[in-house]
Each structure stands twice: as structure tokens, then as C-alpha cells.
């Protein structure tokens, strides 16, 4: 893996466009998805990823890749996305959540609101995880990678992945613990109605 990364970075430094296309296409979907889970906005997510790649192309000489190219790219997407949320003071409307959940639940106004509320809280709690923790959670949850693969891509040990995943769930639980009984109740209700 080390060798591959070194070879890729050399290609980027040589301004090899074919090489850059490989890198772009290799990472685009997953980075886009990362930005999307943070921002929940397709256009903004694409802009963020485009900017991250542009910086990689433009500033390659001055960039440092401490662990791996993947670690750099995910970190950059995380930071840019959070900056975007912070500085532009983007106020998300939760309309999309509500319409989204409408498809699943056809009855009970209260339930719809509860689901959207839960998603909003989950979203906030996940975005409050520290960068490395958030990136590892992303890869495990949304890219469905095994610990070993995550460690390999980020150039870190499997032990670190374990620690960070433990930390992530622990922190999410602390932030959501008051809502969990409600969710259970809702899930139970759905089960009963469908039975």
C-alpha cells in the first residue's frame, strides 16, 4: 500500500492527467458520499469534493501525506464540509427528512416528527465526532469496510480502528441516550402493526 501511494503521489507531482483521473475516479464516489452524509445536500457535497481535488492538483508540492493519500482526502473532505456548515451558517431545513420518512410511515403525524428528530440528532452527534473517529465511522458504516481494510487504507493499525469505533459508539450513545427508549417504542409499534 505504501508503495502504491508513493507511486500515485509521484504521478500527481508529475502532473500526469491520466494518473489524476485514476485517483479522482478511485475516490470520488466515497468522498462524495462522505460529504453528503455530513451536509445532506447533493450540490454542496459535490462542490466540496471538487474543491478538495482541486487543492490536491494545485498544491500537490506543498501537501504532506502523513499516513496515506486516502487519510488526507477524507480528512480534507471532513474539514471542508464542517467549515462549510460553520462559516456559511447553513440552516438545514428538515423538510427533506420528513418527506423521506413519509414514504415509510403512512400514519401517525407524531411518529414522522419523532423519526426526523432522531435523524437530526443522530446526524448532529455523528458530525460532532473528531475527524479520525468520524472518518473511520464513515468507512465502517457507509462503505461497509472491515477493520482490516480501513486500517490499510488509512495507514493506521487495526487497534486504532477498534479504539476509534469504540469511541464513536460510546460518544453517540452519550448524546442520544435520552432518545433511545423512544426509538425503541416506535420500532416496537411498527412491528406490532405489521404483525
Amino acid at each position: 500500500m505504501e508503495f502504491t501511494d508513493t507511486a500515485i503521489i509521484q504521478l500527481l507531482k508529475d502532473r500526469d492527467e491520466t494518473g489524476f483521473e485514476h485517483v479522482f475516479k478511485h475516490y470520488f464516489k466515497n468522498l462524495y458520499r462522505y460529504a453528503l452524509t455530513i451536509l445532506q445536500d447533493h450540490d454542496q457535497a459535490e462542490d466540496i469534493v471538487q474543491n478538495v481535488f482541486y487543492k490536491l492538483w494545485d498544491k500537490i508540492e506543498s501537501l504532506h501525506f502523513a499516513d496515506s493519500l486516502a487519510a488526507y482526502l477524507y480528512r480534507a473532505v471532513y474539514n471542508e464540509s464542517l467549515n462549510h456548515l460553520k462559516h456559511k451558517k447553513v440552516r438545514r431545513t428538515y423538510q427533506s427528512y420528513i418527506t423521506h420518512t413519509m414514504k415509510d410511515q403512512t400514519d401517525g403525524a407524531q411518529r414522522k416528527v419523532m423519526f426526523s428528530e432522531l435523524e437530526r440528532r443522530l446526524q448532529t452527534a455523528i458530525n460532532e465526532l473528531p475527524e479520525q473517529c468520524r472518518t473511520i465511522f464513515q468507512m465502517s458504516r457507509f462503505e461497509e469496510l472491515r477493520y482490516l481494510d480501513i486500517a490499510d487504507r488509512l495507514g493506521i493499525s487495526v487497534k486504532t480502528v477498534e479504539n476509534q469505533m469504540g469511541k464513536a459508539l460510546k460518544q453517540l450513545r452519550i448524546k442520544l441516550v435520552d432518545y433511545l427508549p423512544l426509538i425503541l417504542l416506535i420500532l416496537l409499534n411498527i412491528l406490532i402493526q405489521h404483525a
Binding site: M1, F3, T4, A7, I8, Q10, L11, D14, R15, D16, E17, T18, G19, E21, H22, F24, K25, H26, F28, K29, Y32, R33, L36, T37, Q40, E46, V49, Q50, F53, Y54, W57, D58, S96, H100, L118, E119, L122, Q123, I126, E128, S140, R141, F142, R146, Y147, E162, N163, M165, G166, K167, L169, K170, L172, R173, I174, L176, V177, L180, I183, L184
Partner: protein, 339 residues
């Protein structure tokens, strides 16, 4: 953030979160499973704590639900990106004092435009090849090694043909029929491409093995990275990955190349690392022009860990005989293995 919450009274005692999450995600081994299960059984509140994790894990999945990025969108994003980098790309070159960089840059851009439409690229290739004198190398009954005009080394397995221009121009192109191992001399200005039976392999400074037959093309990358394209696929292959393409079949299989047998014709070594007997037999058949019959399916699956260096067929067969205590009969080019 909220440091005091880390000592939350609902936190587990006698176990840590890392292990619970590891268990939840099915990453634990038998010993760890036993520990977690004992802990879960110890107290109902432990079980509840674990269920909280499971619930969060399950529910968080929805946040990724609105993701539906397609290959077309990816391509569109790339095209958008290209339009963005082009002005600064040219500007950067203008500021470079070394004048001669301009030429390779233009050749590179020319090559990129040609690539944009594969039909154009193919026509270009035909033109380039008919214009320049061409070199052909063919192996017959033994493998052979050849050096290309750019210094890249190719080892051809038996019964393999390659064809390439006597002088590489804008691109380095080789047409292959059979099986060969490539160690490519790095040259970023001139992409290296291998064309074989409808499949194109684009090289990014690397070494790899290509095996082409009537029905399949198999590529194993040893170092670096290659890009494999045909009419149905476009795949990026990294070091120690293996790709198998079957003619006209949209499905492809990509996995790690744990089998090192394929190197035998180059290294004169048969490397078996938990290799099934049938696989070694297939390589031996190919290397020594024999037919090896293993009727019993149980024998076919026997596993071998051994490296045969510069060994004769009889030496290898006698090791198989000794190791598995099975009968080996050889008459001419027919070999039979049975109980």
C-alpha cells in the same frame, strides 16, 4: 467536548466499548466472543447497554440512504474537474523556466484527447503501427525474455506472440497474444498500453502478468497500479490484485492474488502456498507438456505448501508421492495420480 460525560453512569464495567463494537460488527474472534457473551449474560443492564449500540448502529444507516451516485455522474464530475484545471495547468507551464517541458506537455494533451474516444484511439494506434516499422517476438516451446525500445522487460511464456513498434512514439503500445510478465520502465510522458483480445491495460509504472486465452484474460499486478478497460469494463487494479475477464461476460472477478504459481515461467519456481493439487497439476501440465489425470475429487483438493526451484517434473512428482502417499504413474506424457 463534554468530558464529564465520559464517566456516564450508564457506561459498562468489566468490559470496554471497543470490544462491544467489535463484537457488534462481527470482528471478534472466539475468545472475545466468549468474553462478550459472558458479560452480556452477567446483568440485564449490560444487555441494554449493548442494545443501545446496536440501535444507534442500525439507525445511523439511514443517513447514507440518499446516496445514489452513478458512473455517469462520476464521469460528469471528472469532466467538470478537467475544465477547471486546464487554464491553470497551462499557466503553470508558462512559468516554468525549462522550455523543453512544453513539448512533452503537448504530446500528453494530444494523447489525452485521443483517449477521450476509444475509437479514435484505436484508429490512431493502427495508423501509428502501419507508419512505423514493427517488431514481432514469438516464443515457441520455451519462455523467453525481451527488452523493449524503452528498456521495459517482458518475459513471454511459451507459445506467446507480441508485436510493438520498433520505435515508440507518443505512446508505448504492445499487442499480446498468450501470456507475459511486464516490468515497465517508468516514463510518465508516454503511457504504456497492452492490447489483448479486446482488453486494454494502461500502465502507471508497474509490473504485472497478463494471461490471455480464447475465453478469458487474467491480469495480476505485482507492483504499482494498472487500469484495465474493454467494451464493458473500466477497472483500476492495485498491487497484488488479480482480475479475470471472461469474453462477453459483464461479470468480472477481482480478488487478491494469493496464488503465486503463475510466476513459474519467469522465476523457474513453482510456489505452492496452500495450493490445491489440481492447480499445481495445471501449471505442471503447461510447463512440461504433459497431461496429469487426477480422477478422485478428494485428491484434487489436497493442499500443498512447497517451493520447487529448478526441479524436474519427476522430482516434483516424487515429492507429491512422498507427501501425500499417493500413487504416481507416468508413461510418456501421461501422468496419473491415484490412491
Amino acid at each position: 467536548m463534554n468530558e464529564h460525560l465520559h464517566t456516564d453512569s450508564g457506561g459498562p464495567s468489566g468490559i470496554n466499548e471497543d470490544l462491544l463494537v467489535k463484537h457488534l460488527l462481527g470482528e471478534t474472534g472466539p475468545d472475545e466472543n466468549a468474553r462478550v457473551e459472558a458479560w452480556l449474560a452477567a446483568h440485564p443492564s449490560n444487555r441494554r447497554y449493548y442494545e443501545d449500540f446496536r440501535l444507534i448502529w442500525r439507525e445511523s444507516r439511514r443517513l447514507g440512504d440518499n446516496f445514489q451516485e452513478t458512473d455517469e455522474q462520476e464521469e460528469a464530475a471528472w469532466q467538470k474537474f478537467r475544465r477547471r484545471i486546464h487554464p491553470s495547468h497551462l499557466k503553470a507551464v508558462k512559468h516554468t523556466p525549462a522550455q523543453k517541458r512544453i513539448l512533452p506537455l503537448w504530446t500528453k494533451i494530444a494523447a489525452i484527447f485521443l483517449l477521450a474516444a476509444s475509437i479514435t484511439a484505436v484508429l490512431y494506434l493502427i495508423n501509428a503501427n502501419t507508419a512505423a516499422p514493427e517488431k514481432r517476438v514469438a516464443s515457441t516451446t520455451t519462455p523467453l525474455t525481451d527488452t523493449l525500445p524503452d528498456g521495459s522487460r517482458i518475459t513471454l511464456n511459451k507459445q506467446t506472440n507480441i508485436k510493438y513498434p520498433a520505435k515508440f512514439k507518443k505512446e508505448r503500445t504492445v499487442q499480446l497474444q498468450g501470456e507475459a510478465f511486464f516490468a515497465i520502465a517508468p516514463d510518465k510522458a508516454k503511457p504504456f498500453r497492452v492490447y489483448t483480445n479486446g482488453v486494454t491495460i494502461t500502465v502507471l509504472g508497474t509490473s504485472f502478468n497478463v494471461r490471455d486465452s480464447d475465453t478469458t484474460t487474467e491480469i495480476i499486478v505485482e507492483t504499482g497500479m494498472v487500469r484495465v478497460t474493454d467494451s464493458l469494463h473500466d477497472v483500476l487494479l492495485h498491487a497484488s490484485e488479480k482480475l479475470v475477464l471472461r469474453k462477453g461476460d459483464p461479470a468480472l472477478s477481482k480478488d487478491s492474488a494469493h496464488n503465486k504459481l503463475y510466476k513459474y515461467y519467469r522465476t523457474k519456481e513453482f510456489v505452492c502456498d496452500d495450493t490445491p493439487l489440481w492447480q499445481l497439476a495445471a501449471s505442471l501440465e503447461e510447463a512440461y507438456d504433459v497431461k496429469i489425470n487426477i480422477a478422485d475429487p478428494q485428491l484434487r483438493e489436497l493442499r500443498i505448501i512447497a517451493t520447487f526451484r529448478d526441479a524436474s517434473l519427476d522430482q516434483i512428482l516424487s515429492v507429491i508421492h512422498e507427501t501425500f502417499r499417493i500413487k504416481v504413474t507416468r508413461s510418456g506424457n501421461q501422468v496419473t495420480l491415484n490412491h
